[in-house]
């Protein structure tokens, strides 16, 4: 923080004098040197006594430090929020999978990872469409990072979910943004923030629907290329972005679904319940940046009965609210997730 922002406690002349000797921010003032040393470098014409200066530095330290939060207050807040955990309007529609994560109601940032064809986009799409069908005045933002979104899949799934009559209204409330790099995603989030903060100003009969859910389809090509073994900048960008997503979800009560790809790991993955040589991409720390990591994989057809359905397993690798190493089976039939 800049020293000008502490203005009632440090006068403007002192700030200017400090700037001239190279002390510009609060970290410079508090950590660069002993207050007495800094005071001795200040010009004597300022008319400031050492005692006043030390008092000012103490005040700056008090303001600049982080505000504490107490554990018992946090627990109370968490318990009081628990009553609408199973609110019906943000659910996938497969009860066993919804129970794995304790529902997907806001605010939540969930990572869904798996190999190609394991059902990640299908799961996200089903969640989104069910929500849009059930809540007529909400909208969803789908951030597509590789141009893979096909509107035909949406109408196919809407048919399967049995919602032809309202299908056009649903399609209008699903907004798709194309973002090929992380700066573009920041731009999209920024304009979303602006539109969400502008909503209380509009009086009357809710014109534009409020966004309740964001899906980032494939965050791997956005963040993956920046991660490198020699520099930590990519990792810093990743952490900052996920942190921002978290504060975004908390501030505006959103459910954010992040779809991640998979990479190879040899020997087998110790986190998984079933034997596999794949793990979620973006490194070991990515799972700690979200509330829960759901791993989807397709079971080999010998255990599935027949028809058009493929058998899949959803496992929880890590979750803040429910137990991990729990799993559930589900089938994908005609593109729609159903119970196994």
């Amino acid at each position: 923080m800049r020293l000008e922002q502490f203005s009632p406690h440090i006068s403007h002349k002192v700030v200017e004098a400090l700037q001239r000797i190279g002390v510009r921010t609060d970290t410079d003032l508090l950590l660069l040197n002993d207050p007495t040393n800094i005071f001795s470098r200040l010009p004597p014409e300022l008319g400031l006594s050492l005692l006043d200066f030390r008092r000012a530095v103490e005040k700056v330290a008090q303001i600049a430090s982080a505000t504490p939060s107490y554990g018992d207050e946090l627990l109370e807040k968490e318990l009081s929020r628990h009553e609408d955990v199973f609110a019906d309007n943000v659910l996938i529609g497969v009860p066993e999978v919804d129970a794995l994560l304790g529902g997907l109601s806001p605010p939540r940032v969930v990572e869904v990872s798996g190999d190609k064809g394991s059902g990640k986009t299908a799961l996200a799409l089903q969640l989104v469409l069910r929500h849009l069908i059930q809540v007529p005045d909400s909208s969803v933002l789908w951030i597509d990072s590789s141009g893979e979104f096909a509107p035909e899949r949406v109408s196919l799934m809407l048919e399967q979910l049995g919602a032809e009559s309202s299908s056009s209204r649903v399609l209008e409330r699903l907004q798709i943004s194309l973002a090929f790099d992380i700066e573009a995603v920041h731009e999209v989030l920024e304009s979303l923030r602006r539109s969400l903060t502008a909503v209380p100003d509009t009086t009357g009969y809710g014109e534009s629907p409020a966004t309740r859910c964001i899906v980032i389809d494939s965050i791997t090509p956005l963040l993956g290329p920046m991660l490198s073994a020699t520099s930590s900048q990519g990792h810093a960008i990743m952490t900052t972005f996920m942190r921002q997503l978290r504060t975004f979800a908390d501030t505006y009560m959103l459910t954010i679904l992040v779809i991640n790809a998979a990479t190879k790991i040899l020997p087998g993955n110790p986190e998984a319940v079933f034997e596999t040589t794949r793990k979620p991409a973006l490194g070991p720390s990515f799972t700690f940046l979200t509330d829960a990591t759901l791993w989807l994989s397709q079971r080999s057809p010998l255990s599935s009965t027949d028809e058009e359905a493929t058998l899949h397993v959803a496992e929880v690798f890590r979750s803040r609210t429910t137990r991990s190493k729990t799993w559930a089976l589900f089938k994908i039939k005609n593109g729609v997730l159903v119970s196994a």
Binding site: G147, A150, V188, E190, S191
Partner: protein, 317 residues
């Protein structure tokens, strides 16, 4: 203003570190500064501080966004001029979609591209024809268009022709494509003829992936925001198989198979139809739809549709 962190803006690193060193963390901190003040304060040149302010300026609407209804709204289907292909595509090629045609030499893919140009010109749409192997000359396009008895020579004004064959020229073309399309907004069709040719040069795998990735992004952007339709023709490559069908080096009299040069993930899969022409006799064969926007990968059958065709005197039906 907002609490957006300044480090998330796309500014050059020296500017970002100067901002961080002076204690500016979020966009809110810049709200009472002017570019001149900032440039003096941070000791950076004036253009750099102006760039900071223009990067923080809010944009009017969600960038590159449309609703799913708008995406589906463009239902105008253009016939490709080739009935079996139209049947495979479910009626025709929609605006904003990409069609990739693979096939062995002599199977008629360039001919299909030329016929498609004619179909678009008849609907009064402008076309940009890019030829990368000198397979289709402007004279050929003119001849194809003149075959239609009702054609007039004004049709050729709607077609623009570009030829190149090196990888560097391809990269330059991709970089300029968006600006070109903004200068000529009536361009409805882009034909990339023999796209596999510039990639046949000896290049490192990383380079190939980088160029393909760039191509995918450029095409996806152009198709989504400008409604550009793209037809790509590409050659097949030969892959040698050992006698028991495993990929490997080739002892004599082993099998070889011809496969498409590009994979499904080289094109935005939500907007691409991939077709392969399989000639079975001199005049007849089948066309197969390898992938389409609704075709889910990794699921049998291996292709999504098949249509027989026959070629009589150069006319495919």
């Amino acid at each position: 203003m907002s609490d957006r962190l300044l480090s998330t803006l796309s500014l050059p690193p020296p500017t970002l570190s100067a901002l961080a060193g002076a204690g500016y963390e979020t966009v809110n901190d810049l709200s009472n500064a002017t570019p001149q003040q900032l440039s003096k304060d941070l000791n950076i040149p004036l253009p750099a501080s102006q760039a900071v302010f223009s990067a923080t300026r809010p944009s009017v609407a969600l960038p590159m966004t449309q609703s799913a209804a708008a995406m589906m709204g463009t239902t105008k289907q253009y016939s490709t001029g080739c009935p079996p292909l139209d049947r495979l595509l479910g009626g025709g090629l929609k605006r904003g979609f990409i069609l990739e045609i693979n096939g062995p030499p002599g199977s008629g893919k360039e001919q299909i591209a030329a016929i498609a140009v004619r179909a678009f010109v008849e609907c009064k749409q402008e076309v940009l024809f890019v030829d990368m192997q000198n397979m289709v000359l402007p004279a050929t396009i003119k001849r194809t268009m003149m075959r239609n008895p009702t054609a007039n020579s004004d049709g050729m004004d709607l077609v623009r022709y570009l030829a190149f064959h090196t990888t560097a020229e391809l990269v330059v073309f991709m970089r300029n494509l968006t600006a070109y399309l903004e200068a000529y907004p009536a361009t409805a069709l882009l034909v990339l003829n023999s796209l596999a040719f510039p990639f046949q040069a000896d290049m490192a795998l990383k380079e190939r992936y980088a160029i393909l990735d760039r191509l995918k992004q450029t095409l996806a952007r152009a198709c989504t925001s400008l409604g550009l339709t793209v037809i790509i023709t590409s050659q097949l490559v030969t892959k040698m198989l050992e006698s028991h069908g495993e990929p490997g080096s080739a002892p004599p009299a082993s099998k070889a198979t011809m496969i498409p040069s590009f994979a499904s993930n080289n094109f935005p899969s939500g907007r691409t139809y991939r077709v392969i022409i399989v000639p079975q006799t001199r005049m007849t064969g089948v066309m197969r739809l390898l992938s389409s926007p609704t075709h889910v990968p990794n699921r049998a059958p291996a292709f999504a549709g098949e249509e027989p065709y026959q070629r009589i005197r150069g006319v495919i039906s």
